[in-house]
Structures are given as structure tokens and as C-alpha cells.
């Protein structure tokens, strides 16, 4: 079975380590991620102003394309894309006047009414595959790996687009348990990483990162598990700065949830692109005997 899939911009460059392991894993699970043949940037942030319709054109246009190719569900991997597409979809469902204006402006010959269901890959794993079946497919259980699930903001807020309980989310923890890892609950798992403030006040990013890392490590986590490329950038940069400033601060590996999925399903670590990660995840995996040896590729001689 194929699932219509929207990647978003960053997954094709800096966050290939989020996308490529997801595509390979879903193929192994028999639910192929079928990238939309044509898509545009969703705009990253959902515009919050009542009169701002122009910034809703980008996400709605993507949804119309999904509808036109006959799919009823759209899967995303990036938490920002999920949030923007899902909020734009709710607007198209619930506000007849704005819906008509947007449909007229976009002029794709279709009166879109929010019919597409926007979901995150974690929801597909939870609701369409199920933790029990996923656990049965695990070839390399991630035993002895104490991982802190970090949700950030956009998977859980606002309530109407949350993929889980915004106050007490468990989806990432259950996912990690299915892979054989030990999830570590920590109180800062839904605290903001600073988001787009990295553009306005980059120095503040360190202060956003500090309580998140302090809390995760004091609860015994060895690494953080993420779903969002902006969290990855901010936390990676934040902890690098903290290590420079604060003697004794130890950087922590940051994983995308899809890398752990691919690893646990027994796929080649090549698809995980650990070289793009922050905080040396490979050393931790090697220490736990969780990094299968891969024959190195010989360069072709001339």
C-alpha cells in the first residue's frame, strides 16, 4: 500500500537523516511513502492573523494536489509541516468564507473543503500499524539505550492539531518501547527550543537549550529523540555553545525518531546518515553494540 507523502524543504538538504531512514523503513514495513510529484514549501509557520490569507495559499495548494491525485491522507515527517498543513486544512473545513476566497484565488479547478486527512508518521505507526506489530518486526532491539523523547511544540500545540495529549504525550515513548529502547520521561519534553528566534536573537538559543538538556540528563537520558529539523538545529547549536561556556557540560547525541526505526528494523546504518547528526550518536551506538558493521564502499579506481 502507498501513502501520499509530503517532505518539506529541509528534509531534502539538512535533514536527509530524518527523511531517508523513514522512506527505507516504511518500505520495509510494506507502507511505501509516495512523495507528491509536485509540492511547494508549506511556509513553515502557520499565519496567526485573521486577515492573512495569502500565507495560507502555499499549504492549501499542497492539499489540493493531494486531493487531485485521489489520495485521502497525507503523511508528513517534519513537525512544522504537519502543524502548518493541518491548521490550514482545518481552516478550509471550518470557515466557508475564507475557503471560498482561497479556492477562487488558487484556481485549480477544484472546490477544496478540507477532505484530506493530514497525519504525522508517528500516527501511522501507532494507528495504522500498531506498536505490537511494529515490535514484532524489530530485528535489532535497541536494548539498554536510555532515550528522552523530545516533542517540542508543533506536534502538540494547538490542541486541535495535537497528535497526542498536549500535557502528557506518550506516543514517542511508546514508539521507543516498541523498538526495545528505554524511554526516559522528563518534564521539559514539550518545552520550546526557541524555534525561529534563532534568526532574531541567536544568543538566546543557548538559554532555551539549557533546561532541556539539564532535565534530560538529570533523569538519566543518554540521548534525545526528535521529530523536527528546527529543534535539531537549535538544540545542536545550543549544546555546542553550552559546552564551550559551561565546564562539565557534556554534549548529548540527538537522534531523529526515523533513524532509530531504521536501525531497529535491521536496515543498513548508511540510510540513517548519522554523519549529519549532532552530538556523535555513533559513539553511543557503538558503545551499546548497536551499530552493525557495514563493509566500506571501495572507491572506483581510475
Amino acid at each position: 500500500m502507498n501513502l501520499a507523502y509530503y517532505p518539506g524543504c529541509t528534509l531534502k538538504t539538512r535533514a536527509r537523516n530524518l527523511e531517508e531512514p523513514a522512506v527505507a523503513s516504511m518500505e520495509a514495513l510494506g507502507l511505501k511513502l509516495d512523495e507528491l510529484p509536485r509540492w511547494n514549501c508549506c511556509g513553515a509557520v502557520y499565519s496567526l492573523a485573521e486577515d492573512d490569507l495569502i500565507h495560507k495559499v502555499a499549504p492549501v495548494r499542497n492539499l489540493i494536489r493531494v486531493r487531485k491525485q485521489g489520495a485521502s491522507e497525507l503523511v508528513t515527517l517534519c513537525a512544522f509541516c504537519l502543524n502548518t498543513l493541518k491548521r490550514a486544512n482545518l481552516l478550509m473545513k471550518g470557515d466557508a468564507e475564507k475557503r471560498d476566497t482561497l479556492n477562487d484565488f488558487i484556481d485549480e479547478g477544484i472546490a477544496y473543503r478540507g477532505e484530506v486527512k493530514v497525519v504525522h508518521l508517528l500516527e501511522v505507526l501507532r494507528d495504522e500499524i500498531g506498536w505490537g506489530i511494529l515490535a514484532g518486526k524489530v530485528r535489532l532491539p535497541l536494548r539498554q539505550l536510555r532515550l528522552a523523547p523530545y516533542y517540542g511544540c508543533t506536534l502538540l500545540r494547538p490542541r486541535e492539531v495535537a497528535i497526542d495529549n498536549p500535557e502528557n504525550p506518550t506516543v514517542l515513548g511508546e514508539f521507543l518501547k516498541a523498538l526495545g529502547a528505554s524511554p526516559v520521561d522528563f518534564p521539559e519534553s514539550t518545552r520550546c527550543c526557541g524555534s525561529y528566534q534563532v534568526m532574531n536573537s541567536p544568543d538566546a538559543i543557548t538559554e532555551y537549550a539549557r533546561p532541556i538538556f539539564n532535565s534530560a540528563s538529570s533523569h538519566g537520558a543518554e540521548a534525545l529523540v526528535l521529530t523536527c529539523p528546527l529543534c535539531d538545529y537549535n538544540l545542536g547549536r545550543g549544546q555546542r555553545e553550552l559546552a564551550k561556556k559551561q565546564g562539565g557540560f557534556k554534549e548529548m547525541p540527538l537522534f531523529y525518531f526515523t533513524q532509530l526505526l531504521a536501525l531497529a528494523l535491521g536496515l543498513s546504518p548508511h540510510v540513517c546518515h548519522f554523519e549529519l547528526n549532532h552530538g556523535s550518536p555513533e559513539s553511543l551506538l557503538r558503545e551499546k553494540d548497536l551499530l552493525p558493521r557495514v563493509e566500506s564502499v571501495q572507491p572506483i579506481g581510475g
Partner: protein, 139 residues
């Protein structure tokens, strides 16, 4: 001794037009707020703000535009919506913050100019940071 109020309210200073615009852009009923401070208590950025999120609502509904314009609070807000999901009144402060930002940005004054971002930063920042930051800080 009672602390003296730091804001003087008089009919001459009340910006009714400002209140109207904030309501229109945010779609929020500013009178819903009963100043409990849950927004400030849950805000991860409050420590970097000169005027607390709770107080922004009070200043906005009084129409005290100058006090708001002189504060950096709305530019420090990361739209994380911790205030929104924790408000016992169902008030969406993130929309009020956005409305105030837009009232400034629509005067054609950008908060961040792409050309001011250092070249090494521009190469380092992922698209998601550039797009979201420029969406929030330019008009």
C-alpha cells in the same frame, strides 16, 4: 506602602483604534482574560521579556500602544503556544502577539533584514529557520 502603578491611564492615552485593530487581526476577545498569569508562568521566553505576557494583554486592551511598542516582548515570543494551551479562559495570546507584530511590520519596518544575517550564518541555518524567521520578522 503600596507600590505605585507604573502605567498612567487616562482617556487621552487610550488608543481605541489600536484596540480595534488588535481585536480584528487576532480575532480574540481581549476582555476574556482575567489576569491569572498562567501565560507568563508557562512561557519559556518570559525570562527574556521586559513586559510579561500577562501584562501585554492588559496593555493591549487599554490601548496603550506606546508601552507595547517600546517593549521587546512580542519580538521575543517564539509562538510556541504554551500560553494558549494552558489558558483557563480559552484565550489565544499567540494571536494577539502576532497581531501586535504585524501592526509594526506592516509599517514596512522589518525586524530582521536578510542582508544583516552574517554570510556564515546564512550558510549554516537550515531552510526551516530562514523561512520561519523571515515570515515572523519581516512585513
Amino acid at each position: 506602602m503600596t507600590k505605585k502603578a507604573s502605567v498612567t491611564v487616562s482617556h487621552r492615552r487610550l488608543g481605541r483604534e489600536f484596540v480595534r485593530k488588535v481585536k480584528e487581526l487576532s480575532g480574540q476577545n481581549l476582555q476574556l482574560c482575567y489576569q491569572c498569569g498562567m501565560c507568563t508562568g508557562n512561557c519559556p521566553a518570559a525570562v527574556n521579556m521586559d513586559v510579561s505576557p500577562r501584562r501585554i494583554i492588559e496593555l493591549a486592551r487599554l490601548g496603550l500602544e506606546e508601552e507595547i511598542a517600546g517593549s521587546k516582548t512580542v519580538w521575543v515570543c517564539a509562538s510556541c503556544l504554551a500560553c494558549t494551551v494552558n489558558c483557563p479562559r480559552g484565550f489565544d495570546l499567540s494571536k494577539v502577539m502576532e497581531a501586535i507584530r504585524l501592526l509594526a511590520l506592516r509599517k514596512n519596518v522589518d525586524r530582521v533584514r536578510p542582508e544583516d544575517v552574517a554570510p556564515e550564518q546564512r550558510c549554516d541555518l537550515p531552510q526551516i529557520a530562514m523561512v520561519s524567521g523571515l515570515r515572523k520578522f519581516t512585513g
